[in-house]
């Protein structure tokens, strides 16, 4: 009986709200506790609205061709993210983006994951629907949930919103697609003002209805840049990143002055790839 009740409450909570899957794209160089906090904060926020049920989270490290200074190999960044998320029961690491030969636009990465979600949903639909119908008939409800696959939303920090302002960083149609078709959850920290970033972009303002702003009241500004700096200088990063990740970094001697010089003079791949000749 208790199992039945549990199943009912689980399904009804899904039934009355939209299922969400959160995708975070980034360098994760290395992953920090703050990255994982973003997921927790976003999920709490979406659940508080009563309209969304966050069912899973995906962390997608960028590929090596991104051209960002100090970016260590994707295999290491992925391995560290996996170690850090070992204890999470809802966020996982996906390697697809990091394994692409060239840098992949965020919109393209989202399309890929959206397709994967639809595929998995189609596969699981028959069993899911029949069990739901049984329970729905118990409560006298006639509606079925067949036509609502989970939605994919992009999860980002407030600094990410500012990249929309950088000329050449985003293709206009991609902004439309990411924000308009999928949706955005932005967690703001510290002094950054996400509302301003939305205001300063026409595209973001047009789709402000699908942008969820989450405020983090605790100022917790652990940035991967600061973590790398501390590691280079032999300072402690304990309690900023998980112990297992610290151990991995030491084992592979990952963040050094040499590794920080990588891509030092390179142009960020999005800027090169999307550059249009100026007249």
């Amino acid at each position: 009986e208790s199992v039945k009740f549990w199943l009912w409450s689980e399904i009804s909570s899904i039934y009355f709200s939209t299922m969400d899957i959160l995708l975070a794209c980034g360098s994760f160089n290395p992953i920090t506790n703050q990255h994982m906090r973003l997921f927790e904060l976003a999920r709490d926020h979406m659940h508080r609205t009563g309209q969304y049920q966050v069912v899973s989270g995906i962390m997608s490290p960028v590929s090596d061709n991104y051209g960002k200074q100090g970016l260590v190999l994707a295999k290491h960044r992925t391995a560290m993210a996996k170690l850090a998320l070992q204890s999470s029961n809802w966020v996982t690491v996906d390697e697809w983006e990091s394994q692409q030969p060239d840098w992949t636009e965020t919109a393209v990465t989202m399309r890929y994951h959206h397709e994967q979600i639809l595929k998995r949903y189609e596969q699981s639909k028959p069993t899911f629907t029949s069990s739901d119908k049984n329970i729905a008939s118990l409560s006298g409800e006639n509606r079925t949930i067949t036509d609502v696959p989970p939605q994919l939303k992009l999860l980002c920090g407030a600094d990410f919103l500012d990249t929309f302002k950088i000329p050449g960083m985003w293709r206009d149609d991609h902004v439309e697609e990411v924000v308009g078709r999928f949706g955005l959850i932005c967690v703001s920290r510290g002094a950054l003002q996400p509302e301003r970033a939305v205001h300063e972009s026409d595209a973001l303002t047009r789709h402000s209805g699908s942008i969820h702003l989450v405020r983090e009241w605790v100022r917790n500004e652990t940035s991967a840049t600061e973590v790398r700096r501390a590691l280079r200088r032999g300072m402690s990063v304990k309690y900023l990143i998980p112990d297992s990740v610290i151990e991995y970094i030491h084992q592979h001697n990952l963040y050094t002055e040499d590794s920080e010089r990588r891509n030092a003079d390179a142009v960020l791949r999005p800027l090169a790839k999307q550059a249009r000749p100026e007249f």
């Binding site: 506790n33 703050q34 994982m36 906090r37 927790e40 904060l41 999920r43 709490d44 204890s87 510290g190 009241w217 605790v218 100022r219 917790n220 500004e221 652990t222 940035s223 600061e226 501390a230 300072m235 402690s236 304990k238 309690y239 900023l240 112990d243």
Partner: protein
């Protein structure tokens, strides 16, 4: 060469630890990095000393839970430990007395180690004595570790005895982790007492803003929000298992005056 001019230091942090957060643990790491970077100190141990229930702070849950959480949080640290002497005292104990207690403990421990040394490391000691004949085995220096808020609390009337502050700073020393928005140097400048002992106050800048306050953690827990990655996983699990923080526990000591204020207000008015 190692340790010839270096003083050994033990860091002691007193507080509620209600509950312990990653920020408390970060303070130890930052303090050790800073002190060792000066080349004058070698930090050998950190002690977390949760306050006793007699402190009467609002929302303060039983010491046994606070100690256990701190113990779980420090399980993966090779140098930070938890000590329950303070919280086992029937009444609130002045921080100075806690510092004295741990200093004596440390002295006693060092004495024992000395006895061991004479047997096991006689050779090494002879060598050391040969090179630095003036070297006397010193007891590690005990320093109080705190956040900038504690330094600022030194001037709150009736919270601290001025003699206690003078002894803490003059005889032991203070390591103070700054937070953004606080200017400890200005604070030290403005207080004659702090100014007098300024050389024993080590100000450690926090290079990453990390304001995980226990108050915020309790608030999130009351509201059913996630506190993962703000506290160690084991602590989060312990809190859930024992259902530690809710609106009832937050009302504990709600109308009670803080123990130090009770004690010193009574004393000064008589």
């Amino acid at each position: 060469m190692e340790g010839q001019n270096m003083s050994k230091v033990v860091l002691l942090a007193c507080g509620s630890f209600n509950p312990i957060t990653n920020m408390h643990l970060r303070m130890f790491e930052l303090a050790r990095d800073h002190l060792e970077d000066t080349g004058r100190y070698s930090v050998i141990k950190g002690i977390i000393s949760p306050v006793s229930d007699g402190y009467k702070k609002k929302g303060l849950i039983e010491a046994c839970h606070r100690v256990e959480m701190a113990r779980l949080a420090t399980e993966n640290s090779q140098w930070i430990t938890v000590d329950s002497w303070e919280c086992l005292q029937p009444e609130w104990v002045e921080t100075l007395k806690v510092i004295r207690h741990h200093y004596e403990e440390q002295m006693a421990a060092e004495q024992n180690e000395d006895d061991v040394d004479t047997v096991r490391y006689a050779k090494k000691r002879r060598y050391l004595e040969g090179t630095t004949h003036l070297k006397i085995r010193e007891c590690p220096q005990l320093m109080m570790l705190c956040g900038a808020d504690v330094l600022e609390s030194f001037v709150i009337p009736n919270l601290w005895k001025q003699d206690d502050i003078a002894e803490i700073l003059g005889r032991y020393g203070l390591v103070c982790i700054t937070r953004s928005g606080s200017d400890p140097y200005k604070f030290i400048h403005q207080s004659d007492l702090l100014w007098k002992y300024r050389k024993n106050i080590h100000v450690v800048p926090e290079w990453v803003t990390n304001e995980i306050s226990a108050t915020h953690v309790r608030q999130a827990l009351r509201r059913g929000q996630s506190v993962r990655y703000l506290l160690p996983d084991d602590v989060v699990q312990y809190i859930q298992e024992h259902q530690l923080y809710n609106s009832d526990t937050e009302q504990k000591n709600a109308d009670v005056i803080l123990a130090p204020l009770q004690r010193y207000t009574g004393a000064s008015s008589s």
